[in-house]
């Protein structure tokens, strides 16, 4: 609306008021924008207000960090696999050593053993059975694969066992053994009994001497007596 030219003071006031309003409007826009920007900056957690270069830089650093982490993951996995396989190997070695220990313990007579086998009873009413005959019998049993042998539930027969005679008594490892002789042997019970009663074997020999031999096959024979071993005094194991 055109101002009436006749009233310059009033018009100048109006124009001044209008431009003052305009200035106020601009300042209002400024305040609004500033507050909005501050709020955006404060709430900017999702990178939406970031410049492209900054975002690219962020992405680059993130991807290189991810690469480094992946390399680390690879290394750690390899280390873990190595540790696992080495501990597996160690476990296998331990298992092997344990089973060998069991075999050796049975062979050296330091542990009691049970299993199928035979119980041989030898009577000797005429006191004529000598240590040699018993040794023959033991040899026959060993030949038939006896794994653990004991006599009269008191003497374990091992590699170093020796048979002697003193004052008409049979001594095994220095321990006097009197008839009737009771031999427990663990092994294949059928093979062991065959080894005793085959023609010309232990049974025949004892009967020729006036004694009797009875063989009893059993599914569970207990060999309970133990042999104590001393550390070797003279011999040393050689390498290899």
């Amino acid at each position: 609306m055109p101002e009436p030219p006749t009233s310059p003071p009033e018009g100048s006031t109006k124009r001044s008021l209008r431009s003052q309003l305009f200035v106020g409007l601009l300042l209002a826009v400024l305040g609004f924008a500033a507050v909005a920007q501050m709020r955006l900056t404060r709430d900017d957690t999702d990178y939406s207000g970031q410049r492209r270069e900054v975002l690219i830089e962020l992405l680059d650093s993130l991807s290189s960090a991810a690469e480094r982490t992946l390399v680390q993951v690879d290394e750690l996995e390899r280390t873990r696999d190595e540790l696992l396989s080495s501990s597996e190997r160690r476990q296998i070695a331990i298992d092997e050593a344990e089973s060998r220990l069991q075999v050796l313990e049975v062979l050296t007579g330091t542990v009691a053993a049970t299993g199928p086998g035979v119980t041989i009873t030898i009577t000797d009413p005429e006191d004529s059975v000598a240590a040699a005959s018993l040794l023959n019998g033991i040899e026959e049993l060993r030949d038939a694969g006896a794994e653990a042998i004991e006599i009269n539930d008191t003497v374990r027969v091992v590699a170093s066992t020796f048979f002697t005679e003193q004052d008409g008594e049979v001594r095994i490892d220095g321990v006097a053994v009197r008839p009737p002789y009771l031999i427990d042997a663990i092994g294949s019970s059928h093979t062991l009994s065959e080894a005793v009663i085959f023609p010309g074997g232990l049974a025949d020999e004892i009967e020729r001497l006036g004694g009797t031999v009875s063989v009893e096959e059993a599914n569970l024979v207990e060999v309970g007596s133990l042999h104590s071993i001393d550390a070797p005094e003279y011999s040393q194991p050689t390498e290899g």
């Binding site: 601009l26 300042l27 400024l30 507050v35």
Partner: protein, 110 residues
């Protein structure tokens, strides 16, 4: 007086309305705000000098904002947006400091 009311009204509206800024404007708004601040301090100084002119203020305000935004836009297109925004901010900051120094001399006579 109306100017001060307008500023307070704008701040209040911004606080109450919780406006969300369009994605396309987001990079230019901070620069535009600083440019507008420069114009405001210039206007305040002119007012204290007794040479304030509404028209000059409005034109300087609008052109400051537009030029600042244009420079940043150009910088973005040329691939130097970050550096150019920094440059614009530095220049506007210097101008704001000198204007505020002049205002300070008027107010405190020091």
């Amino acid at each position: 007086m109306i100017a001060a009311y307008g500023l307070a009204l704008g701040v209040l509206a911004g606080l109450l309305m919780e406006p969300s800024i369009p994605e396309a404007l987001a990079p230019y708004l901070p620069i535009a705000v600083v440019a507008a601040l420069d114009a405001v301090f210039g206007g305040l100084r002119a007012h204290l000098d007794g040479v304030f002119d509404d028209k000059v203020f409005v034109i300087s305000f609008v052109s400051n904002v537009l030029i600042a935004a244009t420079i940043v836009y150009l910088g973005d297109q040329l691939g130097v947006g970050g550096q150019l925004s920094t440059g614009v901010i530095v220049v506007l900051g210097i101008r704001i400091f000198s204007n505020v120094a002049a205002i300070r001399r008027h107010v405190f006579h020091a």
